[in-house]
Amino acid sequence: MIAASTTMPVVAGLRRLFRNRAILLGAIVLALVVLAAILAPLIAPYAPNKLSIVNKLKGPSLTHLFGTDEFGRDIFSRAIYAGRISLLVSLGVVFISTVLGVIMGVAAGYFRQLDAPISRLLDAMMSFPDILLAIALVAALGPSLATVIIALGITYAPRLARIVRGSTLVLRELPYIEAAVAMGLPTWQVLMRHVLLNLASPILVQATFVFASAMLAEASLSFLGVGVSSDMPTWGTMLASGREFMNNAPWLMIFPGLAIVLSVLSLQLLGDGLRDLVDPRLAKES
């Protein structure tokens, strides 16, 4: 009985969540992409690096659904394995940018004396186009999987910080925060228990959009040859290496590109849907 009563709000919440068509569609597509990446060894018909020179540059067929590349490697298998790294990079970026963004945003929004310096720093950081800042950071730190994640994490942190700062400014003035302060609760407890918990929704929405941007940015960096090593299959490196054979084997470009579009689209749908849910005023407009 107790178990039923505690699960009910969760079920009701999920039902409300999935009543939004954008969230439902975005969640289904994203779940498929994530599942394909996790279950890659079970789904992929070939090993991602299995060479077969006799089968090089074969078009899509029943044996090779998305065709083969210049080394005869199966594009379908590679695209599934590439999803693992592309998703891993984007998740890492979301984690770093969220941690940095929350620290900067809460500090600027809660402590008045820190607001001006942090806000100006965020303005300065946001003056750099994302790809340009990321490639400069990768150039400085040296190209590797970890530095791509760190560079993009730093690049997108101000986006989260802005949202967190705005929400914290509003929260700070609310009676229950004032009450908590008046009761003599230490600042860190006020921040952890009352501010951070109430920031969860805007952070979740913004993190979804950062996830999508990170996926696009990682593809761009890999395509430019300044991202992860070209030996590692990501959708970006697949596009970069396929470019040379684009005229004779367009499938080398089409399928990894579609994988990016589909994943980013699912994240955008999810982000939009969640935002509408968090802010019903916006839902009325769309």
Binding site: A124, S127, A139, L216, S220, F223, N247
Partner: protein, 316 residues
């Protein structure tokens, strides 16, 4: 008038602080390189003498605070340093590459606005119709497409397939201007279409906001024709958020230009910075970052100024 001047000075001061921070961030980025940037740039074959010589040429042997002073002093004199590989000043390298990037960005923004304004307005006016739903879906898809991938697809169809446009290059200084612009059509369309998605969505949202306002209802009640209501009463009031997002999208366009120039082999600033990264030519990377960020800060300042022209209620 006095209030405007004070407001203007305040904004100007804010802009200068942000510019100073931009300079500092750029200075720090190059200095976070693990190890010695001079050794990294010269590679494993370099002798200790070569490294010491480059360190002194780049000013890396001085204390950090002196380096910062020299860096800021150089910028104030218009000196962004010397490219290590091109062996000429960074400003000269940037100036030589500015034209394709400038026109690419300009045409992309024109294409984006030309698509976004009418489509966004119409979509808001016909809210809930099939047209509106198609627009909402298409903008979502367009925002998910990497502009460089769209560029590659356009090359396949319109350069390799039909041969209407060149697949790459820009032509030399002797190439007629129109011929050079012809090279920019596909990259500008690739960038413009992707960026139109964001502007369309903002235009639609801004129009939906103002279409529900009392003054729009009053204008309709007065019997003003629908075209006048939409263009004069609604669009004019929706322009502020639209101008803001157009200003913001310039930064996105520059980011997109970096990759798009590489796809189309355009000898622009994006191409310069990518080759600088591959060669670890730090002065070029730092100079480009600085100039692009400064342009962005200036554009935002100009956008702020445009608000007064668009909306007399806005006070600076």
């Amino acid at each position: 008038m006095a209030r405007i001047s004070w407001g203007l000075l305040h904004r100007l001061g804010g802009m200068l602080i942000v510019l100073a921070l931009v300079v500092t961030v750029v200075f720090i980025i190059v200095r976070v390189t693990p190890g010695d940037p001079a050794a990294v740039m010269l590679g494993s074959d370099a002798t200790p003498e070569d490294i010491a010589q480059l360190r002194s040429r780049m000013g890396l042997d001085a204390p950090l605070i002196v380096q910062y002073g020299q860096f800021v002093g150089g910028i104030l004199r218009g000196d962004l340093g010397q490219s290590i590989f091109l062996n000429h000043p960074v400003t000269q390298a940037l100036a030589a590459r500015a034209e394709p990037t400038f026109f690419l960005t300009l045409f992309s923004i024109l294409i984006a606005v030309a698509i976004a304004l009418p489509v966004g307005v119409l979509s808001a006016v016909r809210r809930g119709t099939l047209f509106d739903q198609i627009v909402v879906t298409l903008t979502m898809v367009a925002a998910s497409v990497p502009s460089f991938w769209l560029g590659l697809m356009l090359i396949q169809v319109f350069a390799v397939g039909t041969g209407w446009f060149p697949a790459s290059g820009y032509g030399g200084p002797d190439t007629p201007f129109l011929e050079r612009l012809h090279h920019l059509v596909l990259p500008a369309v690739a960038l413009g279409v992707v960026n139109s998605a964001l502007i369309t969505r903002f235009t639609r949202a801004a129009m939906l906001d103002v279409l529900g306002e009392d003054y729009v209802r009053t204008a309709r009640a007065k019997g003003a024709n629908e075209r006048r209501v939409i263009l004069k009463h609604a669009l004019k009031n929706a322009l502020i958020p639209i101008i803001t997002v157009i200003g913001l999208s310039v930064a996105m366009l520059v980011a997109g230009a970096v990759v798009t120039e590489t796809v189309f082999g355009l000898p622009g600033v994006g191409n310069l910075v990518v080759s600088a990264v591959l060669r670890r030519d730090y002065p070029v990377i730092q100079g480009t970052l600085l100039v692009v960020a400064a342009i962005y800060v200036l554009i935002n300042f100009i956008v702020d100024m445009l608000y007064i022209l668009v909306d007399p209620r806005v006070r600076l």
